[in-house]
């Protein structure tokens, strides 16, 4: 394990295109469900417990056995009903792989895997453990949306980082839960869904003008 490698992987400055995605926040701001830091907190808690848990479990499972990546990628397809979210996840997976290949020798996996599969493969290549892949994934599902919230609503960045600090115990808990299940058969891995993220993504994809890709 290398803490330095883990910090690189979880760093928002990793050139993997993550800054172009709001993690489903932009449509929920547009429809008025998220207006302030409290609304963002509810959004992030739900996102962490659903797509955060799923991403963490699939990143950890890929890290534990990169040979399962095709099967795990299909498992994410079955857990992502929204075509817009599947496209966003694969675009981020491809960008992450591109950055990762410049950093470490990565096992051969598909060209455009889902983002958690790409993250797990990078973590394995960097010598990280499944638990570390899980925490990087869980962390990424909330920090990306949080920074999008600052940009879209003009929220106080200090207040938003205070919120992220309050969420760290939950982030650790979700990552530990995900890592503990990383050896499970694909059908048994976490599948927590978030209906408004799916619906919002489909509506968002039809907008003519939007700040974020998803």
């Amino acid at each position: 394990m290398s803490l330095g490698a883990l910090l690189l992987l979880a760093d928002g400055r990793l050139p993997s295109g993550g800054h172009a995605h709001s993690g489903g926040l932009e449509p929920q701001i547009a429809n008025g469900r998220v207006r302030d830091v409290d609304g963002l907190a509810g959004f992030l808690r739900g996102r962490l417990a659903t797509s955060g848990l799923v991403s963490a479990a699939f990143a950890a499972a890929t890290c534990a056995d990169v040979g399962r990546s095709a099967e795990l990628d299909a498992g994410l397809d079955a857990r992502t009903p929204s075509p817009a979210l599947r496209r966003a996840s694969r675009a981020q997976g491809r960008a992450l792989l591109r950055a990762g290949r410049a950093m470490w020798p990565i096992a051969t996996i598909g060209r455009e895997p889902h983002q958690p599969v790409a993250l797990g493969a990078l973590a394995a290549a960097a010598g990280l453990t499944p638990a570390e892949a899980a925490i990087a994934a869980a962390h990424g599902t909330i920090t990306g949306s949080a920074s999008a919230g600052v940009r879209l609503l003009g929220l106080d960045p200090y207040a938003v980082h205070a919120l992220l600090a309050r969420l760290t115990p939950e982030c650790d808990r979700i990552a530990a839960l995900a890592a503990a299940r990383s050896g499970d058969p694909v059908d048994e891995l976490p599948a927590a869904g978030a209906p408004l993220l799916d619906i919002g993504a489909e509506h968002h994809a039809t907008w003519e003008v939007r700040l974020f890709a998803s």
Partner: protein, 250 residues
Amino acid sequence: MRAEAGIVAERDDRGGTRLAVLRGESPLLLRRTGRPDGGGVTVHLVGGAAGPLRGDELRLDVVVEPGARLEIRSVAASLALPGRPAPPSRLTVTASVAAGGTLRWLPEPLIAAAGCDHDVVTRVDVAEGGTLLWRDDLVCGRHREASGAVRADTLIRYAGVALYRHELAVGPGAPGWDGAAVLGGGRAIGTVVTAGPELPEPAVLGTDAAAMRLAGPGVLATAVGEDIRQVKAALDPWCDPASRRALTAV
């Protein structure tokens, strides 16, 4: 309370459907209803007791043989209730649909009364060439009541491959379930999975509803509402082939 029920629908020699097995026990009582229609058979679930209550273990197994057409409905919403201190109540529904068979699952909503603790486990296997319409509606609490805890765990396979794998948890113990990522303060949610050789065109069905093409041969229509009426307004027409054609023609 423990109860098991089962239905086996098979094609008869006149091109219709007959029920080779129709057995149930309270609270999962089954009644064949209506006249044979277009070669299909309709069965209604008739609640024979209150609940499910904590500690209840209920199971329904449905088999649709090649060429048979079965529709399952229920006469009333089911109400998950707290009951005495006991492990969570659980309803397990399994279904298999053979090639050329059709299963339409259209029960009334499940209502999560305050204090309930209920699991719904759904496992559906559709063979290549089979057709499925699977609807589940959930209401989070009775009128002006906090939601109880319900966890729905669904796996639908088509031709042996996972088509739709979804878990939804609401109420106490489900972090952020009422936040803007999950139900956003909505108190009702409905989902309809359609799978098979002929699929409806995806469409935006309303402000908080959409029909989306799955990665495999299926479409999910999902709707969130302040109450069940909004969900029904989006999903009832979607479940009716005639009005769906009119809907997409607009």
